[in-house]
Each structure stands twice: as structure tokens, then as C-alpha cells.
Symmetry: C2
Subunit: 474 residues, 2 copies
């Protein structure tokens, strides 16, 4: 009960704009502030309670309204309550036998998500993060297109090389599939993207033909709906046409952008054609604000997950059980034990309603539009890299001494140099966090993310003012 008080205090502080969102210390120093020792004999309860308080004291408040750093942020209280219950129930998701209610919830929620994608049938599963969801898609595609690969492996294709395609802006987990699954990253072909970060479809077709000419077997195209850095949407319908023409599996990685499916205003044209995909990754723990982790992977065709992944573990998935074993999900996954990631999402959905998610999406998009507008109105102090399609806003902060300098490659280089310094000052001040990164030939720039329901326009104003307060002399 004492712990619950500590947790409630943390939640109060998280939502309090007057509280800092972090108290930064370097690792070596942090180690001196904490007692992380694992003792031989147990410690008294009071020490454990202090441990909890100390841990939270130095933890970054990712739910704070001024945490713009990551795709997953915010602290949805209902979803959190759901996770407390999940912990208390402490069950594994492989069979109806031990997780009856949660297994049925998975079925209801995933079915609803497939409907929103635009499918009448299909199958889905929750995975530990979008990277594993993408891996599921890759495995199902290979299994479907090359029956027998599961048993015989690459040997069944002799020296024919399988090849996959994705844009150069995709999440790195797509490339990781090629490494994990034995294709090799050289055979994950990066298709160039345009200045908005969208895949150039004519380049996709050119590269497919190039690989075919080398005797390779193209089979899988990843189309990103909401890229990690720029929030770009690859053109689904055009890519789907190419996939249809060359008989390739179309996977859509909408881990980040999937949430916009709820919004009648923003869904089109970004996600138009998503129902043409063979598989879709969609992470509620990102735009929908569900607690970490909550990632889903959906397939248009039913039956693939089980035929691809089952290893017939007869000790777990017996057919002679008391109940209808088609509800057992354990044989569909490459994990055996599986964390219960459904309850927090189900409860959150009950609390918000489908319309509540739509309002949340529209709110986030409006914040992004507002930030863009604010940046465009202060062109001497900020430089917008591109008009975003999503809630990622990419820009440079310009300190005083550079404001009169015309924009040039040299200026970009200098802005790129000061960006990490300003980020460092933010962390030391503890007042807000905004992520930064370089990209291709563009030096470090800030990428602000709106994903938390707690953010308002005044927080957007604060972000820009605070950058100037901390960085004007750089």
C-alpha cells in the first residue's frame, strides 16, 4: 500500500508541468547515487520501499507532457491500471486452459483491428514489439510462397537467392529480418525514397527487374506507413500494383502510422489501399498510447500463422482437452510463453471507445500542424526540414549568431553540430526532451513527436521557447 502511494505520487508528478521530467546524471555518477547491490540475504521491506522511491526519482518521466522524445510516450492511466491487473493475474498466453478470458479478449480486439484495416477474415497475433511483428510477416510470406522451406530450408531453392525490398527510410528491423532468416542483409534491397521520405515506386520496379535479371527471386516488399524519423507514408496503392504484377508479398509496417486508421480525417490518403496488403504490423503502444509493450501483426489469410510456426509440441497443445482447442494460440507463435499484452489495450478501448481513439489521433495531428505553423512563423529561429505527413516534426533550432546567415550546407553542418549540445542542455535542465538524429546527408536535426494525450498547444509553445532559452548563445 505504501508502494501504491509512491506510484500515485509519481503519476501526479508526471502530470505536473512544474515538475522536471528527469534528473540527469552520467552513468558513473548515477551508480554512486544508487544501491543496486544484490545481497546474499534479503533486505527489510522499508529498504525495498526506498528502492522503489529512488528508482522513480531518477527515472525519466516518459508520460510527462513535455517528453517529445520517443514514438512511445504518455501514460494512459486506464491502460496502466490494466497492466497492474495483468501483473496480478500473472498468466501466460498460450492456452485457453490457463488464460481463458484474456484469450477471448485477444480474439475480439484483433478481429476489430482487422475490420478497421478493411478485412473480413484473416488472423492476427500480439508480438513483443514491432520488430518481431515484422519478423512474423516475413516468416509467413516465405512459408506461404515456398511451401517446404520450413522443413528443407534454403536448400530447397538451391542457389536461387531470395530477395526482399524496402525503402531506405524503413525501420531497421526489416533489414534485421534478412539477417536473422538467412537471406543476408545484402539481399534486403533498399529502395531510394523521395524528398518526403516516401519510397520511389519506379525505383522499386527497376530494382526488382535488376534482381530478376541476376536470377534472384524477389518475394517480399515492405511498405512503411509512418517512417520512424520523418513519419512518411510509402504510396500503398502504387506499391500494391507492383506486388500484384510480380506476385510479391506485400507487407505494411504501420507500427507507427497504424493508429491513424481511426481517423476519418487523416486516414486518407496516407493509408488508402492498406486492405490490399497481405500482412500489417500495427503497434498500439505507439500512437494509441497503450502501455509498452503492445504490438500486433495481422494477416489477410487465415491459417498461415499456425502452419508456419507450429512445431507440434504435443505436451502443450494436446487435442484431447476438455474444451475446443482452436482457442489455444501457443502453436501460432515463435515464442512459447507469451506475456499478456491484451488486457491493457482492451480496457483502454472500453474506456476511450473507438471514437475516443479517433479524437486522440486528430488531436495529435493538430498539435503537429500547430508546431509546423509556429516554426514557419519564426523562420529566423527555426528551420523546418519538410512538411510532415504525421506527428513527426523535423527541424533545426538556430541560435542567435546564425540567424542572419543564409541557409547553406555549411550552415546545416553547424546546426547539426549544435543540435546534440542543445539536447545535452535540455537533459541537464530536465525540463523537456526532444529526440535528434542525422539522416543520410542531413546532419543532426530535432525530431519532435506527439504521441501522448497529455500534450497541449501550450506545451508546444514551451518547447520552442525553452529551446531558445537553453540554446540562444550556442
Amino acid at each position: 500500500m505504501k508502494l501504491v502511494e509512491i506510484l500515485l505520487d509519481f503519476i501526479k508528478d508526471t502530470n505536473d508541468r512544474k515538475c522536471k521530467l528527469l534528473e540527469f546524471h552520467h552513468p558513473e555518477h548515477m551508480l554512486t547515487l544508487l544501491d543496486l547491490d544484490l545481497p546474499d540475504t534479503g533486505l527489510p521491506l522499508q529498504t525495498l520501499i526506498n528502492d522503489c522511491a529512488t528508482t522513480l526519482k531518477y527515472q525519466v518521466k516518459t508520460g510527462h507532457p513535455r517528453f517529445f522524445n520517443q514514438l512511445s510516450c504518455g501514460l494512459d492511466i486506464v491502460s496502466m491500471a490494466g497492466e497492474w491487473l495483468t501483473a496480478t493475474a500473472n498468466t501466460n498466453m498460450f492456452t485457453y486452459e490457463i488464460a481463458p478470458v484474456f484469450i477471448l479478449m485477444e480474439s475480439v480486439v484483433l478481429n476489430k483491428m482487422r475490420q478497421i484495416i478493411g478485412w473480413k477474415h484473416g488472423d492476427s497475433i500480439l508480438a513483443p514489439g514491432g520488430s518481431i511483428s515484422n519478423l512474423y510477416a516475413f516468416l509467413a510470406a516465405r512459408h506461404h510462397m515456398f511451401p517446404g522451406y520450413k522443413e528443407k530450408g534454403q536448400a530447397m531453392l538451391g542457389s536461387s537467392q531470395l530477395v526482399m525490398f524496402t525503402s531506405d527510410q524503413c525501420h531497421y528491423s526489416v533489414k534485421s529480418c534478412a539477417a536473422v532468416c538467412g537471406l543476408g542483409t545484402d539481399h534486403c534491397v533498399e529502395v531510394p525514397s523521395d524528398e518526403h521520405g516516401r519510397m520511389i515506386v519506379s525505383e522499386l520496379e527497376r530494382l526488382i527487374l535488376e534482381r530478376k535479371a541476376r536470377g534472384h527471386i524477389p518475394f517480399f516488399v515492405n511498405c512503411t506507413s509512418g517512417t520512424t524519423v520523418l513519419g512518411a507514408f510509402d504510396p500503398i496503392n502504387e506499391i500494391a500494383d507492383v506486388c500484384q504484377k510480380y506476385k510479391l508479398w506485400l507487407h505494411i509496417d504501420a507500427a507507427w502510422g497504424g493508429g491513424l486508421l481511426f481517423s476519418r480525417k487523416y486516414r486518407h490518403p496516407r493509408l488508402t489501399g492498406i486492405d490490399r496488403a497481405d500482412s500489417v504490423t500495427w503497434n498500439p503502444h505507439k500512437l494509441m498510447g497503450t502501455l509498452l509493450q503492445c504490438s500486433t501483426i495481422h494477416f489477410k489469410q487465415d491459417g498461415l500463422l499456425i502452419s508456419c510456426n507450429q512445431m507440434s509440441a504435443e505436451y502443450l497443445f494436446m487435442q484431447d482437452k476438455l474444451y475446443d482447442v482452436q482457442y489455444d494460440t501457443g502453436d501460432k507463435v515463435i515464442q512459447c510463453g507469451r506475456h499478456n499484452d491484451i488486457f491493457k489495450l482492451w480496457l483502454q478501448w472500453r474506456a476511450k471507445g473507438t471514437v475516443g481513439f479517433e479524437e486522440h489521433m486528430d488531436h495529435l495531428m493538430e498539435l503537429a500542424e500547430y508546431l509546423v505553423e509556429r516554426i514557419e512563423n519564426q523562420k529566423d529561429m527555426f528551420h523546418l526540414l519538410l512538411k510532415p505527413e504525421m506527428v513527426n516534426v523535423s527541424f533545426w533550432y538556430i541560435p542567435k549568431r546564425l540567424r542572419t546567415m543564409p541557409h547553406s550546407t555549411a550552415k546545416e553542418a553547424e546546426l547539426g553540430r549544435i543540435t546534440p549540445i542543445l539536447k545535452g542542455r535540455m537533459m541537464e535542465a530536465g525540463t523537456m526532451m526532444v529526440g535528434y538524429q542525422p539522416q543520410d546527408r542531413t546532419p543532426n536535426f530535432f525530431r519532435s513527436i506527439f504521441s501522448s494525450a497529455a500534450v497541449t498547444k501550450t506545451d508546444v509553445d514551451f518547447m520552442l521557447n525553452e529551446m531558445d532559452r537553453l540554446g540562444h548563445d550556442l
Copy 2:
């Protein structure tokens, strides 16, 4: 706060032997008892609270002292409190930047676990379950032994077939590695096991030579420490000798048996030689009673995880950050986002101490010994399949009409037929749960598991008496 009361009530009931551990309903009927609908508009708070209560009402109490069904059971209250805090902090484990305290905790705990294994150096990571941990081991092995495979894939080896070896008693996730990674399950060679379920090492060597004669490339041997069904331990030292002789990677899947490393009494001879392994899977969420999920994978050699798995996502793992980026773990894993699985383990370790874990292991083993003794003392009513090495006890219950029948294949078949019926009666009675499964030519038998700290000898007595009460007339 109302939710906390509901959760505390559930915990009280879980620990109350007078409370049933489940209220069984078939899926179709359960659907009529629950309101799982996802509405368009949000529901009031009171409905959500009722939702929580209803969910727990029909959930199996996996922490109940009479839940003997699964390798993961029990409800360690400190670990649960840790998970509540984890949910409230809701952070992602990829960088020190956003998870400073938790990242340092990972480093301390994993280092301690490597010490217990018997290594001075090395590297480790937490993974979402033992199956993914085993996958990490496979990937690191392939990467280490065939540099360039990550980039070039199987093509670099031409038509040479990679082959892995594991016993026919191993966890199915080992075979799954072969499917996922492109070897094909035909090239995951199942080595026969002896009557105790332990790998026959002469057979391993014979099969290695057989594959070599076919021009294949053996490279990976999985040695199971604590098999899923029988709790058998493959002979590590003998297998390590073979691996040394043929220069193969030795992975030890101690997901289940790893906890016994704490016990001076039971560690040897079961885990003797574990320090000779190249990699070790060890799941605290099993024998140690940490909340789900908590799985670890350890490597003797440092640097492998990162060189194997990094995809150089420059937008996340910049080198020009404010702090020493060697603490960032995100680039070591095939996930990107990663759930915080460390805090609940760290806090639990602080509460129990290393000696507390040892006492827990000894207690569980003593319960298994007690159950074996009780079964052996009632040979007409129970039939022990084998003297166990761990807390898995495998046996048949014999109903009245079969007690005078001499043991035979026909009797085994009949016992195998009634086992699921008795399990069904248990579930309908809701008083306890014990898992069952068939194996090879052995028909269905019960496999009782002791993994929860809540179990006492009286619960063992109860198990046997209750089987007789429910099944004597079968």
C-alpha cells in the same frame, strides 16, 4: 484505488486454499458471461471497474498453491509490486537516455547471473521468453562461426548445409530456430535420449559424423538443462567434450533448470560444466518465480551480441550523445522497443537475497522428493514413470477398477485414456490443476510441477487425495 482493492482481494483469494483456483466454462459459454464488446464511445469508470472484477473472477489463479500445471506459476508479491512500478514508469529499454536506472540494473543483475554460471566476463540480454533467448544464441553462434553470414546469408556457404543438434526431449523452440533462420527443421537433428530423458552422447557423435559424411556443416549443439516434460539434464561435460572435439558451439538451454544454479545441494551434478558453454538461456520467470516475462540469455564472449544484431540505426543510437553510449543496449537486440523486465527481478532479488533463492530451490526439490515418496508408497493407486532429476514428477493415477491389473502396455493405454478425463474433472471442480501430456510411445500421463513458493507438503497430500476423490470411479 477501487482497482487496487479488487487486485488485493484477488491476491487474498489466490493465497486462500479454500478458494477455488478456477471457475471453468467452455469458450462458447464464457463468451455469454463476459461483455467483451469494444464500443464506439467510452464507458463509465464503474463499468471498467466491473470489467476488472469480472476478468479476475474467471481467470485461472496461477499463483494458487494448488496450481501445479505450468513451469511458470506462483505469485511473488515483491516481483508483482516491481511490475506495478514498471507499468507506472512505462519506459522502453533501448537507451540510457530514457531508462537510466533500469539499464544499470540490467547490467548489475546480468553480471551477477554470469558469475553464478561461472564466467568472469561475457555479455547478456533479457529477451521476451526462452524461445527468443534460444534464437539469440543460434544467431550469435552462426554469426561468430561464419562471419559475413549476416550480410551475405546462406549464399556465402554455397550448397553447404548448416546443421544443428539437440535431443528429442528439447523444447520445441530449438527446432523453431532452424525453421526461422532458414536451415529448415530437417537440419535440426534430433539426438535420441535415454530412459531418463537425457541426450545419449554417443548418438550425438554418431549423428555429427553422419552429417559430416554427407558434406554438411555441423555447428551448433543445444544441451537442455531441465527438459520441459521430464525435467531431465543432458550430460553437459560429455557434450562439451564432443563440441570441443568437432569445434561446435555449445548452447545450454537452462530456461527451466537454471534456477538450480543457486542450490549448492542440487546444482551438482545436474549443471556441472555449465561454464564450458558458449551461451546459456536461463528464465527467472520459471523456477525463480519472477513475474512473466523474464528470460535471460548469456554469452561467454563479450561483443558478440552487438556485432551480430546491430543494424546501425543512426536515428536511435547516435555516438555524439551527452553520456557514455556503451550503456545503450538497443543495438544488441533484434527487437527495437523492449519491455522493462529487469525491475521486478532486481527488486525480488533484493527481497530474497541470493540465499533466499537457494532456500526456495531446495524447498521445491524437497517437495518433489516428497511427492515421489508418497507415490511410491501408494503403488496401487499411482504409477511413477521415472525417478525425476528436477521438480517435474511424471505419473499415472490408477482408478479402482485397474488397481489389481498388472502393469502392461494395455494398462498404460487405458491410463492414458482416462488421464484427460480426470484433468477435465479437476478443471470442472476447480480445486487444482496438474498438466498432462503424452510422450513418444507413452500415452498421456500427469506431470506435476513445483515452482511456486506457496506450495507445502499438505498441498502435495491434497493433490493425491483429490485425484482419488475425482477419479476413483474412472
